[in-house]
Symmetry: C2
Subunit: 239 residues, 2 copies
Amino acid sequence: MPLQPRAVVLLSGGLDSATTLAIARSRGLECHALSFRYGQRHAVEVEAAARVARSLGVAQHLVLDIDLRRFGGSALTGGLEVPKGRSVEEMQQSIPVTYVPARNTIMLAYALAWAEVLEAQSIYIGVNALDYSGYPDCRPEYIAAFERLANLATKAGVEGRSLRIEAPLITCSKAQIIRQGLELGVDYSLTTSCYDPAPDGAACGGCDACLLRLRGFAECGVADPIRYQRLATGLNKEN
Amino acid sequence: MPLQPRAVVLLSGGLDSATTLAIARSRGLECHALSFRYGQRHAVEVEAAARVARSLGVAQHLVLDIDLRRFGGSALTGGLEVPKGRSVEEMQQSIPVTYVPARNTIMLAYALAWAEVLEAQSIYIGVNALDYSGYPDCRPEYIAAFERLANLATKAGVEGRSLRIEAPLITCSKAQIIRQGLELGVDYSLTTSCYDPAPDGAACGGCDACLLRLRGFAECGVADPIRYQRLATGLNKEN
């Protein structure tokens, strides 16, 4: 067994996963960050993940290629249009076209493989059920089912060492997440949330992810430190 | 919904997955076969999978690259020695070094993504609990836990269409699997099971997979149609 308890932390480069990593670090865990290039339309996420990993002091940061474009089926990996300017009610009504089939299951499965090799005691994932925009694999019952699976799937489980799937933000609002992160010293200028950023990395300000993020910062009374292409439009839609 | 019910079938090119595909076809399903290059030491498996897919008439065969070598931890993906000439009792005593961490979980997660895009109603996997050589992710309780997860993870589950994880061989002996496959017209000369084949594709005859396969054919009173490097040694160990 490793001397310091270890965690595998799924790190997308977004606000939620950066905060999740900071929480895992604050609990004294040696963190091994795992990111994916999953055929998304932009490499901005992976660069943000690397910046966040460095700034929060991980033991290791691994980036894996998983080509989900081979299956099709999502605006984040295929050719569909990312919706803009939707209200929170619209976001919550149905599963959006930006949903990537089984993405969290695939990412957790890889994290499980690494956790087993590292003898890690936990996997941290920044999913969120409140702002989850209708993604089925962000619900608490999904996380519980994966934890159960993980302990049946692995040597660790068979040998009686149990693995925890930790989703510390699952019931937090975006504002609560940001407040927690700021207390733990997360530098949100390093993160990115936009589904459809400009070539220079500026956030669009109108997609679901931008609107939820902007609303969260507004509720905290803190300025979002990242750059937006058309912040005014994004905020207008919210007000 | 597709006109003919669809299944995603995990196809390794081995005896069990070939039989599983034949069973899915015999149930009238349109089969979409999924194979992986997972950093295994040989490409023989993927070639066998392609031959089996062609001979059994799949709608589509997709081969994905998943580089499990990045994590280390197994004789099938790293530099450890594959054990040879073990008795079935030795195989069942512990999880062998050929165990690949979380491999079935990763493969099922990809199958789940594809099943969701295809609107497939089932995923077929050729795992086997009797001859399972101590792999934790080949047990019936593992398959049941994945099915539960799959129905929480996906749009299909949320919308009330349920997805089945079918493991039709899970309680069969190797001999029962072979008898079933022969009845369904599986050409086992197209398959490969060996963990450590020669460069020309001949099976080693001594690894756990070869020994279990040879014993299965012997119990059926049928000759195994594939080529072995040192069949005599393999059989001697069994007698």
